[in-house]
Subunit: 456 residues, 2 copies
Amino acid sequence: MSEKALTYLMESRDRLLQKLNEFLSIPSVSTDSVHKNDVRQAANFLETYLSEIGFENIKQLETKKHPIVYAEYTKAGPEAPTVLLYGHYDVQPVDPIELWDSDPFQPEIRDGRLYARGSSDDKGQVFMHLAVFEALMKTEGKLPLNVKVCLEGEEEIGSENLYSMLQEKKDLFQADFAVISDSGMVANNQPTILYGLKGFTGVEITVSGPDHDLHSGMYGGAVRNPIMALSHILASMKDVDEVVTIDGFYDGVEDLAEEERQLIKQVPSEDFVKATGITETVSEKGYTAKEHTMARPTLEINGIYGGYQGEGTKTIIPTSATAKITCRLVPGQDPDTIQQAIVSHVEKVAPKGVNVQVKKEKLSAKAYKVEPNHPLIQKAAESYTKAFGKEIVFVRMGGSIPVVEWIEDIYNMPIVLLGFGTPDDRLHSPNESFPLNSYDKGMETLVYYWNEVANR
Amino acid sequence: MSEKALTYLMESRDRLLQKLNEFLSIPSVSTDSVHKNDVRQAANFLETYLSEIGFENIKQLETKKHPIVYAEYTKAGPEAPTVLLYGHYDVQPVDPIELWDSDPFQPEIRDGRLYARGSSDDKGQVFMHLAVFEALMKTEGKLPLNVKVCLEGEEEIGSENLYSMLQEKKDLFQADFAVISDSGMVANNQPTILYGLKGFTGVEITVSGPDHDLHSGMYGGAVRNPIMALSHILASMKDVDEVVTIDGFYDGVEDLAEEERQLIKQVPSEDFVKATGITETVSEKGYTAKEHTMARPTLEINGIYGGYQGEGTKTIIPTSATAKITCRLVPGQDPDTIQQAIVSHVEKVAPKGVNVQVKKEKLSAKAYKVEPNHPLIQKAAESYTKAFGKEIVFVRMGGSIPVVEWIEDIYNMPIVLLGFGTPDDRLHSPNESFPLNSYDKGMETLVYYWNEVANR
């Protein structure tokens, strides 16, 4: 039953691209209050489109800032599965505007790519879903499964009101599984299943010594130096083999199975040295850099400061020093437990003569992972392969997507990340674009996927 | 022969204080070009005064910024010793001016202290010398020894041109010994011989990793974190017992003799905990805090920075991290050798995956120490005791006075530090003051000292 829908998409390609351009032309920059009405206009566009293609119970759920667009299709019947589809219609600001080769809100196709703010992140991918639903409705008269859409307008400003809305409207958003298309593939035309994301947690450590900066000649030798004390504390957290040496840090972390090492090996990885300008990669003892970034927890110092930072020399013992730390977590690690492990470690190693305070950062998330052989994932893999004509790769990513953790936390449903972006899309940067190859084959993938999933 | 001079000083006290106030009223702030003419005016004041009391060959040695006032008295004859007297007539800025209880350039006496910028550092102490010379000249018709004065106007901006001038005019400044009055006593009315100063040297360590800040999720696990690498390097330099763990750091440092430990024990030391607000003192294993600050070398991190320093969290691996380090050195340690030892240590411990650069700071100094039983020191001790009516204490100080090292370096002559300041003088701060007790008894000390030293 996919053939007709695919033919429809092909025949309607120009018209649908035109419609996408209309959507992309709305400057729905969520962070800028000047664009408040534009964000609303983008929500209205979605509301209209959803209505045109037969969705019901369409509404804009109001928040303190921008609305969440809700709509549902329930006519596939109680036997068919229900999917919760998440995406976002807000975009990043366009500054610095002078670095754009074309107007960010006047979409333009160049060299097989559609250039516009939001073309990849995430309006383009949201639109693909709606176009596929249109094609299925117009050719089959119905969708093969029930659908609930949740399209928010605040993703680029931290999804401030999404968590509470998901909690509050639990019945409304309830589904059998969730699909999110706000991620990418490891390379253009390389279908990719993202089956794991890291969680994260953070702390800020402040070592306080004297109540004012001291003359290093008068007091050096009597007073513990807060920067040296902080250095000792930090150095005790990770050894030169990049192994975290905090008691309990690896508790509950599952071993990396040989099978998964093979999966990781297959991923065409970026050249870390070339991409970052480092002299050579380093990674946790026993793991390759790819394994460590994708599947092993990390602890990074994100910033440090204390004492004199100007030109030349100032011979002081500073009053304090501060370091910011975040960890990326894998399944089996609980963010709160890890925070507490860091606190306990710091308390254990803090030298006398200084006060050490550890502030726990509020924002945290558990890791996400689905088994690569979960039926919903296997069907996704088959759909990708069929559309792109290329074997899929399975990847885990070091990054974190809060909404994934929230949906898992509140609904405990399987989540499938169907992303079609590519590493060259320049998300959040000037000249954001999306390859038409991803656009066409991504929609083909979705047509296959919905039919496969419904056909359980 | 001291009696007459002392009587003269007593009888002329009001007039001399008036004259000192005139000197202190000149805002000779060397760092501020607005005050360039004021600095010159202070030099002119000295020139006039030196001329009034019979000095000869008076001149202002021009430098790129402010002049060095030179004058000499040679009529004590070839048999009498010649002293080189160093002091400075420039002062620190007065900001924040609103914290002063009286105008910094309108001297005011309150509670036995003379409040004015420069009253202690160093115009007050320079003036005391000239007043004593005046008293000796007016009552004895001559000075008991030959004198060369070297009064600079750039001490508060790092004595930029002094070293080259001292080198260039080696014959002019040549003397048998030097006296410097730009230091203090350990407490008000506690005569103090400062017989040792620490030297210093410094380095700046920069650890560079990726060529831009990296997403910690995408690259954490593949890239060495520059802040963590720096922490490891710094932590390897000193252990928790405050012992420096750099190879060769203590080479050549003489043991602290039991005799000197006794001298140090006698020094009425300030309460480090109370003065600094720390929880407890820490010091090198085997040494008290007083011993460590006065007589043992130190290594302090003066500042550190790298990565994100703002509010909250930014999940990056930063491109670099930098730490500033200075060491205070004792006799037996060569600044260049210590710098090189740090460089070698860093090279040894620097982990792979990052670039580590060590910049050697240019300004450095060897430690200064005279034997407490040197005749010039013993005579100073006797003069102090006689004037203040109190047993002297001998101290070494953790601070450094570059001119001391320079005079030793160029002339290799004994240097006697006759300081009369007190810990409460608030040098460089609002409400700088100088106790009249130090003013009166300090001049008495100088009268005794010059007569004793001449009487060899």
